[in-house]
């Protein structure tokens, strides 16, 4: 059999493929190995371990009691969880929508700048580099009802103080605004890269055909920006559902739980007495499933439209 096969190959007219030495074939995997080991140990293993822990309850991470799906039942029948889930969906939806719209506007405006493009790009990106804890503290001072910077400015034009952080609705608006501000530069950069990849000759042709600026934007820019917008949509959804750090320092989830989102719910179960590691792990699994499903839906819908 081996002889025949060899003869057949030798007799064919196509040039014989040279086999890559095994060392070269192995090299990419070796380069990837350190990262994969870290990823496996610190991400994959804890993720699967979290699924396992969600089937137990533990007050300390050392002593476990088997509860099966009891933690999921406890969460899904809890009024508090559904309130937190509604707030998380409200936050994530508003955060993604506002981020997408504002980042697109910012990217288009920055892209049109002839001078100082780097300055505006850097200015919008700086908040991404600020620690979320610092963001929370700074906006805490800015948004204070009495003596806060923003209310002082509004007072100067005759507007009464707004309870930015001590009224449930205003507090939700505040965290959405701050959340969008912190990541806007990052999303803008993604969209800016998408804009700069659009062939300028398309705009030239459109202008020659007499298309207005709006027509160029709707007919060329937006459709060709869709792949970048999809990336923003997916990353924004993930960020929106995982928001926690700056909210914890800004409002602590208050007033009376009005800005408590799902990650804070998980954190409080896992790290604030009475500690419930199993419940926290089950909350993490539920969050993973929600984000994973939404990401798939986004991806499928986008692919479907492309096709």
């Amino acid at each position: 059999m081996v002889t025949v096969a060899t003869a057949t190959r030798a007799g064919s007219e196509t040039p014989r493929r040279r086999r890559t030495p095994w060392g070269l074939r192995l090299a990419p995997y070796l380069f990837l190995l350190p990262n994969m080991v870290i990823f496996g140990v610190f991400t994959i293993y804890p993720a699967f371990s979290g699924v396992n822990i969600s089937l137990y309850e533990s007050p300390n991470g050392r002593v476990f009691r088997w509860v099966g799906l009891g933690n999921y039942e406890r969460i899904l029948t809890s009024d508090e969880f559904w309130r937190v889930a509604r707030q998380t969906i409200t936050y994530a939806f508003a955060y993604v929508a506002l981020s997408l719209v504002l980042a697109t506007i910012a990217a288009v405006l920055v892209n049109q700048q002839r001078r100082g493009k780097a300055f505006f790009r850097a200015s919008l990106f700086v908040p991404v580099l600020v620690s979320p804890v610092v963001v929370g503290l700074v906006f805490g001072w800015i948004l204070e009802r009495q003596g806060g910077l923003l209310n002082n400015m509004l007072g100067a034009i005759g507007i009464d103080p707004i309870p930015w952080l001590v009224d449930g609705t205003w507090a939700m608006i505040s965290i959405i605004g701050v959340g969008v501000w912190t990541q806007l530069g990052f999303y803008m950069l993604i969209l800016l890269a998408g804009l700069q990849a659009i062939d300028p000759s398309l705009y030239e042709a459109a202008r020659m055909d007499g298309a207005s600026g709006w027509q160029q934007f709707w007919g060329i820019t937006l459709p060709l920006l869709k792949p970048s917008a999809l990336v923003v949509l997916i990353l924004g959804t993930i960020h929106g559902f995982q928001a926690f750090d700056f909210i914890w320092t800004l409002t602590g989830g208050g007033p009376v739980g009005a800005t408590t989102l799902i990650v804070q719910y998980i954190y409080e179960n896992g790290f604030i007495s009475p500690i419930r590691y199993g419940t926290a792990a089950a909350g993490g699994v539920i969050l993973f499933l929600a984000v994973f499903t939404l990401t798939l839906v986004n991806w499928f819908l986008s692919r479907g439209k492309e096709d």
């Binding site: 007050p59 309870p163 001590v166 208050g254 007495s273 009475p274």
Partner: protein
Amino acid sequence: MFRKPVTRFTAVVAAGLLALASACSPGETVDDEDPQAAPSEGQSVEEGQFAGETLNYLYFTDGPDEQATRDNIARFEEEYDVTVNLEILPYSDLVSSLQARLSGGNAPDVVRLTGLGEFAADLLPLDEYLGSEFADEFLEGPMLAVRNNSDQMIAVPSDLTMNGPFVNVEMFEEAGVELPSTEEPWTWEEMLAAAKEVQQATGSSYAFAMDKSGHRLSTILSQYGTALLNDDGFALDKEKAVAALQPLVDMMAADEMPRDFWLGSGSRYEGANEIFLARETPVYLSGSWQVGQFVNNAEFEWAAVPNPCADECGGFPGGKFMAALSASENPQLAAEFVRFMNTTESQEHFAAVSGNLPTRADLAESGVTYDDAAQAAMDVFIADLNRTPDLGFAANSQPAFGPSATALVEQVSEVVAGNKELTAAMDDLQPEVESIVEEMGSW
């Protein structure tokens, strides 16, 4: 179009199911056996018995106590010819770090804690090493918290704090309002009336401020003769609780207490010391641990005044514990270290330098000499210690006290936000606290 993603999705789900199918217990599983009582005879220590050995002490610091601890450790090392590794962690990391170290088989020998409930099963019964008479050297109230279900002493109350009010003396003088003497405390009505009078006379932002804390709320409950918990579980007299807390709610509604401060920090603890230091309030309810900070940072004359009275007088206790771990490789040395750090000499030095109250009965009786600037305030707290009712010590010693106090704060926050009446909030609090007690008692 869908083939590839669906395949990946299927793979992920299959991997998840595989993990579930192969799931094994992530740690030790529990059974329902009761803990067994251990023998409680002391063990004598011979000279040079521990020479050359090393001991690890996991510690968090509030500031000045660190030097006092280092001083006492230096004497211990010299006397016993051992080495003590003092490992200082931020308080916020203490519990999670200790749990991780216990899980990883890397437990320290001795630890400083603020609560014992989560670690009760991991702590070394000290009676066996120090003798049951050792407990008699301490005040009865703080000792209530260090007994496990088998009545073994699993820690030593190493220092004590006492909640109580501070006043801005300059603002009271400006308003011409008199302060109470240590022997004749205000009633609650008198204190709030005085605070409002000073607010009106001086134009301060508020009349009264207090930390956003269930522990501080419990001070007022205790003075009205009730508490969240006792040995049998939920113990709150709702009528007394409403009488105690309604004035706070009313003052926040009238901007006589900082409402935004209460609502603006969610479920987090928040200290109101900056409001007091900024002279925005003449009266501030906090506790003895603030004395050191006020000595250093207050730019005005201040004083501690005795806790106001209602049905009861006195404050509400808190404090820290020193405990040895059962997993220690040298439990006898660990227990001896705990004993040494809480002798009269060691605790007197610690209390004087750190500005805490002593837990030893002899020191509580003889008093402690503090820094000159702190002495008057600490004397007020020590006087209040003797007036504090047992129900406060009993409540604070319950393992479920911390989360129950947090639930109390959340219910009061609902009232402050205008979402419900105080009576309804106290009604809602009961099943919540009962559930916490049941859950924590099940371990």
